[in-house]
């Protein structure tokens, strides 16, 4: 797009020359962004991936920094991206004839480079949220970071609704405070985001409460075409399961090593499994195949990325670790195995193909079980409506604040009033009460109420009103644990060459590897391995024979489908029978559901029950996504347990929930209207939180982020077993001896917000109360309930019986069995259900 010179301030000369030399033309939104920068504004650039938003956000700022000094800090969520963006910016700097140093600093940066960066900070620094916090913990942070003119938050939609995003907001607020000090020039913040629906909120979170964000939109169409891989015989698709190798032959036939293809899966275990399975079918593809997930060693991931770029690697099985990365070479084809989980997420993954402005993205969806066909049809419809999810910033998490307070106390110190004001300028903390701030302050100055008597927990100590960290050990420990990504104890996997081990393959969960005997086979990093020995934190391995190994399971949260996708699925089931190929394929399954039970319309809530050897099952299908079902399941169980002594276990998936009673139960007596009532909701939610394991699970992460239960490698090496305790045991100790500890409160609050989001739960109940409840008693598992029975992994339990009562009951003879042949009568119900079809 050419703007005549003289009519208005055109594209700055040096940018135009750079673009012309490359044969590019600036897009309208790029010009808009540069002009906004030159007016001194901050804001959000909201355009599809691969449209050139990096240059939109940076070039005008680079000119200014080159002419007038100052520094740019560019935050990316992934270390790997920092490197590639550094190259792109260095290229632009030389293309515009600017003398600017561009360097990246991440957890992987060598210490001598960090030392040099400390002596002479680069003009442009590419870094991650964690590394920025590390910089802020340096004693001279206020002067070193006092000259930042530009803060760029890339892939902001990825960070926004996580604790990493909160950490960025706090860091940005602090950088702004530094830049406001005389003779400072005010820092400008630009966030970059792909598709999301709450753009205004995302922009405000980026610039903080004091800013007036400018929004730059691009009207670059990015059509997404969605295809589904269907089996020749649909009855081959199982009713349940998320690994889903059922379509391996079809996918193998579809793939072509001459065409670069990214195969996205949802978990690391699934990546290992599919990689092995594809390789076993096509051994000659080995040189062209790669695996990419967060536990694979960085060097291997780099090799895969480079191979994709130069065309030597063409088929890559990847998890979300490849969702991002602007400079990753575009691929010809993208495959999504299993549930896409969210509309925006599938769009982003699809965007990996045809990574060019205006190009059409294509994605092939591979269902792992039959019901996913409905999900895929629902996504297709949502894409047509251009419907995407919102990414909502968190609400003042106390653990992130506690960590930030220590970080800043290390980095030059702070005074109480100034700090409170500064923190409140971060969007997520705009409503922070003085009381909540004091609670976080109490955590870092005295370790919480119960530890007031112990001087060693006074991490942060006021010195003439300025809070600092006097103890070098505390400082060292804190720097070692900055960040909000909580991972489990891992062991590094290395080649056994000589006695000290060779190259590293990656990181594996300690619990998994310790269950493998020496000589035992397992799959990892796309290889067949054999464990040689496990010592300290290192597992030595050698190549294994191609045979059946065990695939590691990484513990971690399962991503729920989004609310928008849930609603789309309800609509899809309601309207049913579209022209899409998925509908033809799934029709027999839905017919079976209709025959055995019912296919719910959008205005109906389906409630099924059946009896099996395991006991009495009740199934409820709101289609609201896993996390809402966790909350709703606990709430329903609590309300039922109030009516009579009962023990119910709860299992959930994205479609619905199962309540299981080991003893026969007349569900209809329990399913009174009060079960669904919105009255007393808040009290019941609070009671449910205490009754379940949810708070216990959350507590671990919260305590680690706040720097409380720091069981990192530093401790592990020095003290071995002396301080081993499971998080659940620690939770009990806190509950017993320090029930008011703010971290317990935070853990409960997170459960309330994530699983029991009162608003969403209330709106779900409201919707249910307007729905017609369709009750069906079935003979065994139906197509809808089967995935719940088969996939139940970790269940919660609600009980109004004591442990002794439950034990006595568990020792009673088993419940009467179903007549033979009914699907629920085998332990997992699966075999019988298959034979029915």
């Amino acid at each position: 797009m050419h703007t005549p010179v003289g009519l208005r301030e055109p594209v700055p000369d040096r940018i135009r020359r750079f673009f012309t030399a490359r044969g590019w033309t600036p897009s309208g939104f790029q010009e808009e962004a540069w002009e906004a920068w030159n007016r001194g504004e901050s804001g959000l650039i909201h355009v599809p991936t691969g449209s050139g938003k990096t240059y939109a956000a940076t070039l005008a700022a680079m000119l200014e920094i080159a002419d007038h000094g100052g520094q740019m800090i560019y935050i990316t969520p992934l270390k790997a991206m920092a490197r590639s963006i550094a190259e792109a910016l260095a290229d632009a700097a030389s293309g515009m004839g600017l003398k600017l140093s561009v360097e990246s600093r991440t957890g992987d940066t060598a210490s001598h480079i960090r030392a040099r960066q400390k002596r002479k900070p680069p003009d442009i620094l590419l870094t991650t949220p964690e590394s920025l916090s590390m910089l802020m913990s340096e004693p001279d942070a206020p002067t070193r970071l006092g000259n930042v003119r530009a803060l760029i938050l890339d892939e902001w939609h990825e960070l926004l609704d996580s604790k990493r995003g909160t950490q960025c907001e706090l860091a940005a607020a602090r950088l702004r405070a530094f830049s406001d000090r005389p003779p400072g020039r005010r820092m400008q913040t630009w966030a970059l985001s792909a598709t999301l629906s709450n753009v205004a909120e995302a922009a405000q979170a980026a610039v903080g409460t004091a800013g007036q964000p400018t929004l730059v939109h691009a009207n670059v169409p990015r059509p997404v075409e969605l295809e589904t891989l269907l089996p020749t015989d649909v009855s081959r698709l199982p009713w349940s399961g998320h690994l889903g190798l059922a379509l391996l032959p079809e996918l193998g036939a579809w793939l072509d090593p001459a065409r670069s293809t990214l195969i996205f899966v949802n978990t690391r275990a699934q990546a290992e499994l599919w990689f092995q399975a594809l390789l076993a079918k096509n051994p000659d593809w080995e040189p062209q195949m790669g695996i990419h997930h967060g536990s694979v060693d960085a060097s291997e991931r780099t090799r895969v990325e480079a191979g994709l770029a130069d065309g030597t690697v063409t088929i890559v099985v990847a998890t979300a670790s490849l969702d991002l990365g602007v400079d990753l070479a575009p691929v010809e084809r993208v495959v999504q195995i299993g549930s896409p989980k969210g509309i925006g997420r599938l769009m982003q993954r699809a965007g990996r193909s045809g990574h060019r402005p205006g190009a059409t993205s294509r994605v092939l969806c591979v269902p792992t079980h039959a019901l996913q066909l409905v999900e895929i049809a629902a996504v297709r419809e949502a894409l047509a409506r251009r419907e995407v999810e919102a990414r909502t910033p968190l609400n003042a998490p106390l653990d992130v604040l506690a960590q930030h307070l220590v970080t800043c106390a290390l980095g030059g110190g702070w005074t109480q009033d100034e700090m409170l004001a500064e923190v409140r300028r971060a969007w997520s903390y705009r409503g922070l009460t003085t009381q909540a701030f004091d609670a976080a302050l109490g955590l870092v100055t005295e370790g919480g109420r119960s530890l007031r008597a112990y001087p060693q927990f006074r991490k942060v100590v006021p010195d003439a009103g300025v809070y600092r960290v006097p103890d070098p050990d505390v400082a060292r420990l804190h720097r070692g644990s900055i960040g909000t990504i909580v991972s489990d104890v891992t062991v590094s996997v290395r080649w056994h060459t000589g006695s000290w081990g060779g190259g590293t393959l990656g990181q594996i969960d300690e619990g998994f590897i310790s269950g493998i005997p020496p000589g035992g086979p397992f799959h990892f990093a796309g290889r067949n391995l054999e464990l040689v020995s496990l010592r300290e934190q290192v597992a030595l391995v050698r190549p294994g024979k191609p045979r059946r190994g065990i695939t590691p399971h990484w513990p971690g949260n399962k991503l729920p489908i989004s609310g928008s996708l849930g609603a789309a699925v309800r609509r899809a089931l309601d309207q049913g029978g579209g022209a899409a190929a998925e509908w033809l394929a799934v029709a027999p399954l839905l017919a079976e559901q209709a025959r055995m039970s019912h296919v719910p319309a959008a205005t109906e809530l389906l409630v099924e029950d059946c009896v099996s050897a395991e006991g009495s099952h009740l199934f409820v299908f709101p289609f609201e996504g896993r996390s809402v079902h966790e909350g709703l399941g606990a709430l329903l169980a609590l309300r039922m347990c109030r009516q009579r002594p009962l023990t119910l276990s709860i299992a959930v998936n994205d479609y619905g929930m199962e309540l299981l009673s080991p003893e026969p139960l007349a569900w209809d007596e329990l399913l009174t209207p009060t079960i669904w009532s919105e009255d007393g909701l808040l009290d019941d939610i609070l009671a449910s939180v205490n009754a379940t394991e949810l708070a216990r699970r959350r507590f671990r992460d919260v305590a680690r982020v706040a720097g409380f239960v720091n069981l990192g490698p530093v401790h592990k090496r020095n003290t071995g077993r002396q301080i081993q305790a499971s998080s659940s045991l620690l939770f009990d100790v806190f509950l017993r001896y320090d029930v008011e500890n703010p971290l317990l409160t935070q853990a409960r609050r997170e459960v309330l917000e994530v699983h029991f989001d009162e608003r969403r739960l209330r709106s779900t109940l409201t919707r249910i109360n307007t729905c017609q409840i369709v009750r069906r008693t079935t003979e065994g598992a139906t197509p809808l309930s089967m995935p719940l029975i088969a996939d139940r992994l970790q269940g919660d339990r609600a009980s109004s019986q004591t442990d002794a009562q439950r034990l006595r009951r568990a020792m009673e003879p088993e419940a009467p069995r179903l007549p033979p042949g009914s699907p629920g009568s085998t332990p997992r119900g699966r075999r019988a259900a298959r034979s029915r079809r």
Binding site: G447, G448, S450, L451, A453, Y454, Q456, F457, D473, V474, L477, T647, S649, A651, L660, P662, F708, V709, N710, L711, H715, N718, T719, Q722, I723, A725, S726, L729, L730, V733, F734, R736, Y737, D738, N741, R792, G795, R797, T802, D803, A804, Q805, R806, L807, R808, A810, M811
Partner: protein, 211 residues
Amino acid sequence: MLLDLAGETVRLLAERAVLWRRTVLVADVHLGKSDTFRHFGLPVPDGDLDTDLARLSRLVLDTGAERVLVLGDLVHSANGLNPDVVDRVASWRSALDAELELVPGNHDRFDPPASWRVRQRPDGHVEGPFRFVHQPHTRAGVYTWCGHVHPAAVVGRGRHALRFACFWLGAEQGMLPAFGTFTGGLAVRPAPGDRVVAVTSEGLIALPGMR
């Protein structure tokens, strides 16, 4: 719960102890565990020490025992033994109307403070028909009492699984649950014929036919 073992009558107590004649047997007390955590900078709240000492006093009072015999791991680690802990245990000890004896465990790598007046017994100490050790280790012809494992019984499968600290009594050896409040447990796999007794909030319950 009364049992006959090796010709002697013993009583299993829901306080995770065994009463034999006038002796209370306990194992794995782990005094000073939370202090050890705090020593290494982990802010675990205090309270377990006083709770566990009071539970021991109560046991002696309720049973009229003349002796408490600890089957190892009286103390969690030397790092947890700050002067305050030593004093609190010493003053508890001076009020305790019973002897205190210890078969050292893997955590007791040092002599307990003199003020605690602990009589040390060798690992494998024999009295009457019984032999006392910390880590499980049987010897033919004598019934052995041990600790160390922190045994837990898991009843039921999958989501209905229930977990209890337990006594695990075999033909030649009896294992005590860990006494300390701040201790975890290891699921045990009893052999056929073993007796497993679960510690529940409402007392002891014998588990028949555990696999």
